[in-house]
Symmetry: C2
Amino acid sequence: MKNLNNIKVLAFDIFGTVVDWHSSIVAELNRMKIQVDANQFALDWRAGYRPAMDKTLTGEMNCVSVDVIHRLILEELLIKYNILHLSEKQKSDLNLIWHRLCPWADTVQGLNKLKDKYIICTLSNGNIRLLVDLAKYSNLPWDYIFSAENFYAYKPSPKTYLGVAELLDVKPNEILMVAAHHSDLAAARSCGLRTAYIERPLELGTTIKNNVSPCIDNDLHASDLLDLVDKLSK
Amino acid sequence: MKNLNNIKVLAFDIFGTVVDWHSSIVAELNRMKIQVDANQFALDWRAGYRPAMDKTLTGEMNCVSVDVIHRLILEELLIKYNILHLSEKQKSDLNLIWHRLCPWADTVQGLNKLKDKYIICTLSNGNIRLLVDLAKYSNLPWDYIFSAENFYAYKPSPKTYLGVAELLDVKPNEILMVAAHHSDLAAARSCGLRTAYIERPLELGTTIKNNVSPCIDNDLHASDLLDLVDKLSK
């Protein structure tokens, strides 16, 4: 582990890193008694996000909120899976599952410990209302919630990582970006932030083996947020 | 009290409404053993804020953070009061008292109760880092922190009040603006927000009688945040 004594801010990716979107969506589909391969439906819903987001980045789609993107993908999936009986209210409620995703078992305790020493914030492509709802749903004790909406740009745009530094009045290298995705961390690093990788082997459920191997470019590699607490206190 | 059943968001003014700037500054001047009429110094520091802010609104001054505005006023006051011995570090620390203002006695308990039922957020001209520090200093349990910095505009600009509605995905009349200042509430009301006035008779200390009379235009008038809890639960 490299020297991280100057870190003042921990900025967290959300989907997959802090909350378990896969099992939350599977549980919701089961709760709604929707007859479908819930595991694959959840994977498809999430997989549609990146291409849709890339369209907004290349200007093909106006910059819309993640809520809208999730709904567009949902409409396609309902047709693909031949689920045609849902009312508008049911579709709207189902789309809002992204506002009620459950945290990983270590998340709340880990964040509360980290908050004692650091400013802890989100840095997510999720819209502000979604991130507020997630925090309220699980008592996530954020000091600040940064969303793509704050910067009119989505990660991996440098505007997002550097925006956190500007608005919290710290230097980029005083921020530790915490994420379960190497691509997010690489983009943060290119802006001068420090990076911590969190292993989330079950992010994609149990049918897909998620590679959680270390990347030497990160400043820190932790098995979960409690391990991050330990490693930062050394 | 008018019908407020549809309210989803409580947006709070900060300086004077949630935190007691006057006594916090007096205490800090005393702690630093600065020989000065601390009561008057605090009043002057705060009084300088509105004219400086108005200059930014009329374009005479570039849109700068409240931290910078507080420092500019402080420099003038140190000359006016002939306090010429402070080091740069002492001046910088003194300026940061605005990040360590104490809450009123009812604030923390009141906010925690209100958070159970509503999204509670700040809407302040303070910069984000200042508001984050205030929240951390006193465990203010905000669901979101809205600052002038989010909107590139200061209250009473409509961009601020309407910005809260847009980013939290609610209608303006689903927001209750909570403040100890009728002017702030009037501006919120002109944007369609509902308004609650909080009495803070000691906002200006004990030497000035602060008029806390009701204004009939407000939807609600409360003696403090616990009284607000009671009145909203009726």
